[in-house]
Point group: D2
């Protein structure tokens, strides 16, 4: 089974990424739980803005989408900028929006979106403030496109108000709270991924839609 981390740092390789440092800790823990892990940096790919699965000439999103299709656990790792998730993380979410309209990403048998039976979490780093609202946006988006969100599916590190040091520089790797949250998260992600592998979600979204049609006379 596979876990995919997408590191949405604004930095381009080979610059050091604090967000990646946190992702690496999580990856090791998932390996201990029996998962193959891969961490990719969004900025290593040319990903065009858009909301389809392939924005054409030069767009490397399709490469990333294949990786998402084949993973069991998907984790968005993002820094915070101005209290907000990074533009790079939002770009990932925008590209996932295609799931609602792309026939290749919907199961013809039951209407389930591609991420059904996959679980998701998120990791947030910043020098100061913003982790909770970033996590809320990321996790909401991921459940919306079909991922399952286990309890305690996020971990973060940020400094005190106006803090200027980043995760590694501040010794965030040795903070009990962050380390504890991270272990809760990886434990639950692993447990749920294995559970869903054995017990795939049975909800028939096509049948649900048909019932909805029968009780509706207004389309938007």
């Amino acid at each position: 089974m596979k876990a995919l981390f997408i590191n949405c740092t604004l930095k381009r390789a080979p610059n050091f990424s604090n967000t990646e440092a946190l992702a690496k800790k999580a990856a090791v823990q998932l390996q201990e739980n029996g998962f193959e892990t891969e961490i990719i940096r969004l900025n290593d790919f040319t990903v065009l803005t858009g909301n389809t699965s392939d924005e054409g000439d030069g767009d490397e999103w399709p490469l990333i989408l294949e990786k998402i299709k084949s993973c069991n656990i998907f984790v968005i790792a993002t820094p915070i900028w101005m209290g907000h998730l990074a533009s790079t993380a939002q770009k990932v979410i925008e590209r996932l929006d295609a799931i609602f309209r792309d026939e290749d990403l919907i199961d013809p048998k039951n209407g389930q979106f591609m991420p059904y039976n996959k679980v998701a979490g998120c990791l947030i780093t910043g020098n100061e403030d913003g982790a909770h609202s970033c996590a809320a946006q990321v996790l909401w988006s991921l459940q919306e496109v079909g991922f399952t969100i286990p309890p305690n599916a996020n971990a973060y590190w940020v400094g005190v108000a106006g803090g200027e040091k980043d995760y590694v520089e501040a010794g965030g790797e040795r903070y009990l709270y962050t380390n504890k949250s991270l272990r809760y998260m990886t434990g639950n992600l692993a447990w749920f991924a294995k559970l869903l592998a054995r017990h795939p979600i049975a909800t028939d979204l096509l049948a649900a839609e048909n019932k909805a049609k029968a009780e509706s006379d207004k389309e938007n």
Copy 2:
């Protein structure tokens, strides 16, 4: 198995609540899935502001907490005010914050919080705009205290920009999009609640915490 809806309308009984109208539709669908359902209106209770499980004299939160303890599915239903979840919904979330500190709400065997093995969703209504950010805040908070969030665990109705009509008046009960989302939500809530009843989460949070302690030397 039981589903509990908490209707966080700002209105006091016997005033009509649009949010309750949406909750009732969801309740019927969960009944069809074999669940006992109960809808309570927060404003029917005297709930003090605070972040403990019992704020003392006159506080009726303990009555609600008992209902939450005994449910398998928990749904917060809230209107939107100024683009934001209702103060009443936020009050519920604040009271649930006690879960992190209240020994009665933590399993001594494995450290799991009371909502582990329960699933959660949310319902949002408003005359205009705000549902996604309200849902994000609610679902994030619920996963944080230990609920599992299935895919497509929220449904909403709002009108067009500046809309002045509410859910029922606008005929929102016959909108395909809202009805479809609602069926996805209730289908998944039911399926996951049954799954977790058969396969309780095995993650040992106490063991996780001990591992975290071994790799940490900074407490916050």
Copy 3:
């Protein structure tokens, strides 16, 4: 000229409020700038949930509304709970929503809402994370009902990720970043309040609405 602070702590008097400690610092600075200041604690009043200016029997919001009407500077001071502004702060915002519909709060000459020519800011405290998104919600709401938001109109203190100490206990009163932000904020609030007292906003919202009507054929 007057500055009104509304302290939205969840605590009831006589319990100590960290949020009030920050508000007091701001008040002293506005006094140095020539303003009379008043700090009220929302929980000292019986304020009913709702979105009108008077929710009837026992509702003490009208007392607070009078104070808002007579101030030049209005500051919402709120703690963070679960990454979110306190339910008490959201309740204040909900009650201010009445401004859009209450004829007593709209100038018949130019359609301006009551808060026009008043300036607003916010103060946020918490043990950890959430200040930026709370401030965003508060300031957006306040500009929406008619307050002017000067640059750097917010200040906050929170601890590191998972921090357990509050503002005063953690020595937050001696943090340079928070103190600097606070002085920026009070300086700009004072300067803009005086500017608008001498130069009241001339925008004619009734004329604007008439132009809008002439170019519109769809009401929501």
Copy 4:
């Protein structure tokens, strides 16, 4: 006097942008108020991710920054994706974060950030839901870096829940609510820009910082 609109559509030219259609209406109104206007599309420029004023080789942000420096009114116009402001808009905000650290963007006399004496607003379009939280994030970020936010400084159009039509296709250009909000916004932006041109902000941020230093012994 100049007004600059930055259209953060995900689309690349020559594709039609609904967000631009709303920006054009606002621009005409500001022209009527005596402003020169310019609308640029972020996606027409190569803007690298980052948080400095110049991210090096191939980065065209410096061209945009010059335009921002020379405007009196700055408006971010953004679509909503998954309930969130577009990655392109967030990228603009990230690049503006440089203001806090870039000496060229801070007035040596008084410490004021470059956007002091400029006013800002935002425009939001989407097929459904999310405008309020997007506006909150944008306006908060803009006040944080030094712009003044007049009352009613945002306008938006979105459709009903799950709506599939965009602003122009849905006839949003003829919606009273959106048109009214837009006229409030442009009226106030114009009035405040002229006011601040005559009465530049006098707050001395260097003096404020020195006072803060005298009362602080903890740096972050």
